[in-house]
Symmetry: C2
Subunit: 332 residues, 2 copies
Amino acid sequence: MVPTRCLGEHEIINILRQRLELMPDMSVPFGDDVSAVPIGNDGKMAVLKTDMLVAKTDVPSKMSLYCAARKAVVMCVSDFASKGVQPTAVLVALGLPKCLATQNAVIEIADGLNSAAREYGAYIVGGDIGETDDLTISVSLYGMANQDAFMLRNGAKFGDVLAVTGLFGKSAAGLELVLGKDCVVSSKNRLALESAVFSPHARLTEGLVLSKNKCVSASIDSSDGLAWSLYELMRMSGVGFIVETLPVAAEVVEFAGQNNLSIEQLVLYGGEEYELVLTINPENWQIAKTVVEAVGGNLIAIGKATVEKDLILMVNGVKQPIKPCGYEHFKI
Amino acid sequence: MVPTRCLGEHEIINILRQRLELMPDMSVPFGDDVSAVPIGNDGKMAVLKTDMLVAKTDVPSKMSLYCAARKAVVMCVSDFASKGVQPTAVLVALGLPKCLATQNAVIEIADGLNSAAREYGAYIVGGDIGETDDLTISVSLYGMANQDAFMLRNGAKFGDVLAVTGLFGKSAAGLELVLGKDCVVSSKNRLALESAVFSPHARLTEGLVLSKNKCVSASIDSSDGLAWSLYELMRMSGVGFIVETLPVAAEVVEFAGQNNLSIEQLVLYGGEEYELVLTINPENWQIAKTVVEAVGGNLIAIGKATVEKDLILMVNGVKQPIKPCGYEHFKI
């Protein structure tokens, strides 16, 4: 008998997609960062998203329950941010192991959930509790948006500027530290890198202002890693990308050098970062940069969309392929 | 050092409620079966609910993955049914153990989710996947309703008829069989009782028609058991109840007799049943019964709401208290 092969996350998602009857006329394609359902006939949409945090894979052991609960909300808000939608209401399905059914643990979780929801202008309006072997927090978000406000994954055009809202690599480097690996690091850098793991931020303000000004042709968040996000934009939009400048954080350059790690690996394939990855028509570049900076954010051009459907990194004038890799459950 | 006490589900929920900042002016009170958020100013509400199925506590080992996935959706639809709201969109956060990351298992789960969603007129519009130790399915529902259409838990008045949409006890009796306990049972009864466990139904049609006709003063589903539902209606409405007729299924009478089990225990404290428990002003009783029967359902009067805030079962003219008990996580 041939042993049954264990599927990867993307294979599982593909099977689910194939077996489900899709809602007719979905204005946000199935598989984009959020789902949307029409409210009436005036273009208003109910926007929905669910995201699942599982302690075993998403919460390093040094992370507090407060931070874990906060992260569960941030992960989901980041998807709303990437589409330019304000979340209004949060639902939480909390799977709690018996050892965490204590007053202190529940207070920490409640406070983490609440503070993240309020930080992004939403309220927790309901939820459910179950007993699980491992802490599991499924967060669902609801918001409302006009149909023409969505920044989808599929709108990138040849010649568009490829941009990100921040520098990369800190989460991947921070994870090395948090997991207790033997690394050389200054105290200042340790704080910056570990904070990226413990206290991530979603780029909601940036997403909202970009959507309002309609200057983005495609958008995705980078929670599965920069390379994976680029690959998804490419697949959905039918273009390719050339990355001319790696958006690497200064702390990551230092950390990689001190520990003989690859900057490219940390920046491209790390994941658990919540920057937006965007394409912008060159005509809109200046306005996009201006409005993002006006709300205290950054917009960093890192390359451009190409006709050739390849994902290329240009290093010192030499082209090298970026692998379509990122964090994938069930593959480790 | 005093050992930390393990909290029960209701204690955990109370802590969460206390720590969360509530959304101002919620038209459905926090803790009712669903949550609702205003859409604009015309009384239209986005209705939201999340429910978590965990294999360890909610899926007997003999239950197929198809049935487990279907049940996860039915549990959540039942809450919408109890408020009289049509679900439109379903989100699924699927926690899959590695041993179920196979094509056959994923197909079964996808088909169970899809068939339940379509059965109740909704579509699965998105989701997320994570790797968990135990199968965990968090289902979130979205629908839309007018503010005045909700059948809340808090509207029962003294003198109202207490009614249910079906007979009770089959799930609790079926669970004895499914768990392999040594019971006397006919083949016909086994099928009926086990079906109640494997293939539950939500009373959505009944809930929708009752809401449309505005004949219900309070409503809740009975997923945590009839006694618990009555206790919740009582607590939220500030009335008491006297149950004059136990709504017991014929199969349960026979099964209890053959196996020396208490009918009251099976009917009142079983849980995992998805009937609606309703209160209806006597003036509306006939119309309520007529409209429910017109859609193929049943409405069974089992008692009435009382001024005294007690939960009483009347058996052969003798009053006995019903305990405010039901299934509670973390207590077993």
